[in-house]
């Protein structure tokens, strides 16, 4: 680990020695295939693995995936002409986009060794988009590689027809120690903070880095972890629900507002150059449609950002109740939220293990409900009331 750290393209893939070994072998010619599916829990590094593998495939030096040659470098900075990404901005990947990318992926590589298409959230393909992809995966052009990422290879996430044509790379949840090591070595985070955020992030590398670097993210997490103590009445439960929803909205607003404004300004500039000549009225009508479409996409992206933010908060909350349970059973496991260990201990003395378990289930049920499209406010309110009642 220490020899290649920060140099080798696989160095950022934390705690996945088996996956790295087979990817490295494939990139050097052993066991190469045209379609890959990267699965693993959130934050385990599915897209990092796909990008690293893409870099190794385009590497023009030795050892393969050197991290320093032009091929590796261009992929890692996102500038390689023969590597394309599909990152859904909304809740799903539209078919039109997929068709266009599949078509481009069929061309011969311009400069690289392979023409590569990375689909970051294959579980968010619409059925039609999935079919468009399937056709390409069924009969891949000679130099084309498809790298798909999804939470699992379950048919709910990836259609069986696609799954059956992919080689699956399963990533594990990296251990807190592995995540903390990465934060220290790559991002220069102090050891104590690195250890705290690594366990708080529950194996999610991106989340851990965010907590380590962004004080506001830490403030939001602290607010979430304060919730169990605030639930003193039915009214307090509704207030807490409101607080959680508003925080998720604020977080997603902050994340999307800037890019929304830039996109809108760019589009308005592009459309404004239309002039006033013949056919200008038609152009204006078309422009209104395009702006509407942009707004729709932005709204869809905001909804997703809000759900993601809310889900992170719910995971933090679940971690707290899990810590309380671990305390009650004196389980020999490390606390997730080591910084509020005393609060968890106090709760462990006050509640019965059964009621703690009910609380943990209420949080998990809430996540499932939101995933099943229940209005987030209603799901969170029901959860908060259950947490209060115990």
């Amino acid at each position: 680990m220490t020899i290649v750290s920060g140099v080798d393209v696989f160095a950022h893939l934390v705690g996945q020695p088996e996956a790295v070994a087979s990817l490295r072998a494939a990139a050097s010619g052993t066991g190469m295939t045209h379609a890959w599916l990267f699965t693993g829990p959130a934050g385990s590094g599915r897209s990092v693995a796909a990008r690293s593998f893409a870099a190794a495939l385009q590497c023009v030096s030795k050892p393969v995936g050197c991290g320093t040659c032009r091929g590796c470098h261009m992929v890692q900075t996102g500038n390689h002409p023969d590597v394309r990404f599909v990152v859904p901005e909304g809740l799903s990947i539209p078919v039109a986009l997929m068709r266009e990318l599949v078509m481009r992926a069929a061309t011969t590589p311009a400069t690289g060794r392979w023409q590569i298409l990375i689909v970051e959230d294959a579980d968010r393909l619409t059925e039609a988009a999935g079919n468009a992809l399937l056709k390409a995966v069924e009969e891949p052009p000679e130099r084309t590689v498809f790298l798909l990422c999804a939470p699992s290879d379950h048919p709910d996430d990836v259609p069986l027809t696609i799954r059956s044509r992919c080689r699956v790379v399963t990533l594990r949840q990296p251990s807190p120690d592995a995540v903390a090591d990465l934060l220290m070595s790559r991002d220069g985070i102090p050891a104590e903070l690195a250890a705290m955020v690594a366990s708080a992030a529950q194996g999610h590398v991106g989340r851990a880095r965010r907590l380590a670097r962004d004080p506001e993210a830490r403030t939001r997490r602290a607010a979430v972890l304060a919730v169990p103590r605030q639930l003193s009445s039915v009214g307090a439960a509704f207030d807490a629900a409101n607080g959680l929803i508003s925080a998720a909205e604020a977080e997603s607003d902050a994340a999307t507002a800037e890019i929304d404004a830039v996109e809108r300004a760019e589009m308005e500039t592009a459309l404004g150059a239309g002039g006033t000549g013949k056919g200008a009225a038609g152009a204006v009508r078309g422009a209104a449609g395009q702006l509407k479409e942009l707004e729709r996409r932005q709204k869809s992206r905001a909804t997703r950002a809000q759900r993601d933010a809310l889900d992170r908060a719910l995971l933090d909350l679940a971690g707290f109740y899990r810590d309380v349970l671990a305390n009650q059973w004196a389980a020999p496991v490390r606390a997730i939220h080591s910084d509020v260990h005393a609060v968890a201990q106090a709760a462990a003395e006050r509640w019965s293990p059964e009621s703690t378990l009910r609380r943990l289930e209420a949080v998990m049920q809430c996540r499932t409900a939101i995933d099943a499209n229940v209005k987030p406010r209603i799901a969170v309110e029901a959860m908060m009331l259950s947490l209060w009642k115990g």
Partner: protein, 326 residues
């Protein structure tokens, strides 16, 4: 009414406000009263923004032939300076045979004119837009009385939810309901009458369900589904019903107006929830909110029969309410 027996007409009326229905009613009332005194009363209307001071002076000066007149000056807020001067001069010593009705939008524009008229003794007829829910409820109940019918506050609220805030539409709905039902109108009547409206359906179902009235809630649900209302807003309304009762009940005692700002809800909604909150315990509310969350998942595609999912939620509310009351 003592109006007819003592035919004392008001010489100057200021109709203040921009609620169109109230303004036209005030003007019509003034004309009708004048005609009670003198059936040959001549009614003429003028636009304050274009009327010349000379024309008005001629109109208001004593008539050679006597007889009553009603002069309606519309849009008093737009009257120009010289016209204002003539009117204010006239108001000091009005002609007893003339009723001068001035309508004024009541805003900042021309406010000095309106103030001067009031100071000079003009009788004010308020005609401002009704912004408070309470006032709308009062309007509806008064409207029923005016038409010889009767309607409680709850039915008035249901009607407002179904018809909306437009007074003209509300007045039309009141007169139709009185004509069709003989004058006695309750919440169920409103529900039957306006079953096509999503708002009334969702909230009618929710109000009855939260109040523990299973038959009424199920009946309202049937109307709503029959009329093609989507189950999703009904499910949302059910959750909103529990949420509102829970938050209001948890806020403790206090007047609706005091609680309005802390809870961020209109006072009328709080008053209603305070009534509904009787019979609920905190534990019952927890169970009901959980049922509402399950219902939300069911109507969004989880359940085979979405109508059944809503029915089950109504019964779950009733069970939660009773279970809590023991």
């Amino acid at each position: 009414m003592s109006q007819a027996s003592s035919p004392q007409l008001t010489p100057v009326l200021l109709v203040l406000g921009d609620e169109e229905l109230l303004v036209s009613r005030a003007v019509a009332d003034a004309a009708a009263r004048a005609k009670v005194v003198d059936p040959d009363t001549e009614v003429r209307e003028f636009d304050a923004s274009t009327l010349l001071p000379g024309e008005l002076a001629g109109l208001l000066s004593p008539s050679l032939f006597g007889g009553n007149r009603v002069a309606v000056l519309r849009g008093g807020q737009d009257a120009k300076k010289d016209l204002v001067a003539v009117i204010l001069d006239y108001v000091k010593a009005p002609d007893p045979d003339v009723t001068l009705v001035i309508t004024h939008a009541g805003g900042a524009k021309g406010k000095a004119f309106a103030d001067s008229l009031v100071k000079a003794g003009a009788e004010v007829v308020p005609a401002a837009k009704l912004s408070k829910h309470r006032d709308r409820v009062d309007f509806v109940t008064a409207e029923f009385r005016r038409l010889g019918g009767k309607c409680g506050n709850d039915a008035a609220e249901a009607l407002i939810e179904a018809v909306g805030h437009d007074l003209r539409e509300l007045a039309a709905a009141c007169s139709q309901l009185v004509a069709d039902t003989g004058g006695r109108v309750d919440v169920a009547t409103i529900g039957r009458y306006y079953k096509g409206k999503a708002e009334v359906s969702g909230f009618t179902v929710s109000d009855a369900a939260v109040a523990g009235d299973v038959p009424a809630a199920l009946e309202a649900l049937r109307w709503a589904l029959h009329a093609g209302v989507d189950p999703v807003p009904i499910a949302d309304a059910l959750a909103d019903g529990v949420r509102t009762v829970a938050r209001v009940a948890s806020a403790g005692r206090g007047s609706a107006f005091q609680l309005a700002s802390t809870l961020g809800m209109p006072a009328w909604k709080i008053e209603k929830a305070q009534r509904q909150a009787r019979g609920w315990t905190p534990e019952g509310l927890v169970a009901a909110m959980q049922a509402a969350a399950v219902c939300n998942a069911d109507v969004k595609g989880g359940a085979e029969d979405r109508g059944y999912a809503l029915e089950r939620t109504i019964m779950a509310f009733a069970a939660a309410r009773q279970g809590g009351a023991k």
